[in-house]
Symmetry: C2
Subunit: 327 residues, 2 copies
């Protein structure tokens, strides 16, 4: 098993990427190919005291930056870590690809480079979020911002397979994100999607609302990539703001500061429960290969967990499950 | 000044509505007309020890429930508190209308009953949220889930007037909610809206992302009613989930319980800063009359503050400002 890791992608690359990769090979005994600036990678491997044989380096000279235009960069930067890394998967030299870099570029590069699975018209990005009743899988959080209802159904089928075979939850419930629970609610697009889902084999529970994201009402929440992207980023923004507000009010007086010290461990456990890095990467579903996308701000633990998630997809032959389900 | 208050709308109606109305007339010296079940209202006024002349009752026998279909209910329930209340404004017997009831019914009833301001094609619901740098006004959070770009521009102009004249912030900045900051990002609809905003007189700062909602990057965030509704409800859901997670981890051991008692006042201040009820109602902009919508879960303080916000719109002749701006 070989996982390609884009050493140059992410806000804290290459430092945290190398750190996470070293942690992953030690913990999961999987091989990792680091793609990027060879000298920097080797120096960071030394710094992380890794000299084993599980990590190899594939040099690439270009980097697609976080805000570079996706399609144009994929076409022009042929020696970028994303293009070179995806090619290793395409050529069968590796089993999966992970990047915490430019999401649009990874989606575009994977779609063009690896192609799509039969029956899938567009890929979708899924993500696991913590809820009051465990976890929920949301798809799509930004790969396809203007999908057709048939593509929404395809995303639903892929998410169902993911939750079944990777998150090991039998017969997952699926809700369609809407502005109200009633069938009559929503835009024409959402109503058409509702109709398709109603006649599918999915365990469709009907419309759910924004308030159901963190309540854990269903196992899968389906939405278009525009709405999903906004919902995800709003959540991150609010979680951050709440932690800043809380800190401000705790540290505003002596008793608060004392309490904050006393409660350090309780707050740590709270932060851990809310922490995206526990779940690692977000799978790019629908492409003909295993591709995992990391948050730009991924820390080493998130990188490690994303590599684990990619490994599981390969081991469980996940794309075969999608192809069986989509037929 | 007379404000009509729907005594029957909201999850805790009529109890908290009456309580909030009594608090409002005492604090702001404004007249309130309570619409709904006369016997219940009078009994609750007695319970709240109010016998003054600032509150009068307008009886109505029907109630539009929270999940009743909006348009059909407005047509059929002619003696509902929403229809009767809006008629008082239409007939010039009152200056503003407030309801914490069925939002869709209020939007529909106000649009049909009061009509729209010249130059406005559809109304929009705005809402004030707390951010790291003060407050931000988001429009639309659900009145128009499938708007045209021209209607987005109209909402932008109305929001600009609201922030200037009601929230007293000069030259407010406006951002368009999108999946990325670059001009090239987004659906055709968002790109067309971007184009219109660029050529308007608004202080348009370009695209903003979901993560900018709570960062306070701009004074106004513009989005369609579908995305705004999801963003708002996701935020409520996450804020609730985080408070439950926090409580769980604090109360998980003795030291945590002790700390929670010690920090009670700090947590109270934190909750107050995150509390929507501080800002009261959400104005329904664009209708030919002052209409304020409350959260279904509004408490008495939120009701009181919504009545104050309605009073300010009337006093400052806000709809005239919209008409000046829209020309």
């Amino acid at each position: 098993m070989k996982i390609v890791v884009d050493a140059m992608g992410g806000d804290y690359a290459p430092e945290v990427i190398i750190k996470g990769a070293v942690a992953a090979v030690c913990e999961y005994n999987t091989e990792v190919i680091l793609v990027g600036d060879e000298a920097k990678i080797n120096s960071l491997l030394k710094k992380n005291k890794y000299s084993g044989s599980l990590i190899s380096v594939c040099p690439s000279t270009e980097v697609i930056a976080m805000h570079d235009p996706a399609a144009a960069s994929i076409r022009r930067k042929r020696d970028s870590s994303i293009v070179v890394g995806l090619n290793l998967v395409k050529e069968g030299k590796a089993d999966a690809f992970f990047s915490a870099g430019n999401t649009g570029a990874v989606v575009c590069g994977a779609t063009l480079g690896l192609g799509l699975l039969p029956g899938i018209e567009r890929p979708g990005i899924g993500i696991v979020i913590p809820t009051l009743k465990g976890i929920t899988f949301i798809i799509d959080v930004g790969a396809n911002i203007d999908p057709k209802p048939t593509q929404m159904l395809q995303n639903g089928i892929m998410a169902d397979a993911y939750v079944k075979h990777i998150l090991s939850k039998a017969n997952p419930t699926l809700g369609l994100l809407n502005v109200g629970e009633e069938e009559s609610k929503g835009t024409e697009f959402v109503k058409e999607t509702h109709e398709l889902l109603s006649h599918s084999k999915l365990n469709f529970i009907g419309n759910v609302e924004g308030r159901d994201l963190f309540s854990g009402k269903c196992d899968i929440i389906l939405c278009d990539g525009f709405v999903g992207n906004v919902a995800l980023k709003v959540s991150e923004s609010l979680a951050e703001a709440m932690q800043i507000f809380l800190k401000k009010h705790l540290l505003s007086n002596f008793i608060g500061k004392l309490g904050a010290v006393l409660l350090r461990n309780n707050f740590k456990k709270f932060k851990k429960e809310m922490d995206y890095s526990e779940y690692g990467g977000a799978p790019l579903l629908g492409v003909n290969g295993v591709v995992m996308i990391g948050h730009g701000r991924s820390n080493a633990k998130a990188i490690k967990n994303a590599i684990r998630a990619a490994k599981e997809e390969v081991e469980r032959k996940f794309n075969e499950k999608i192809m069986e389900a989509i037929q």
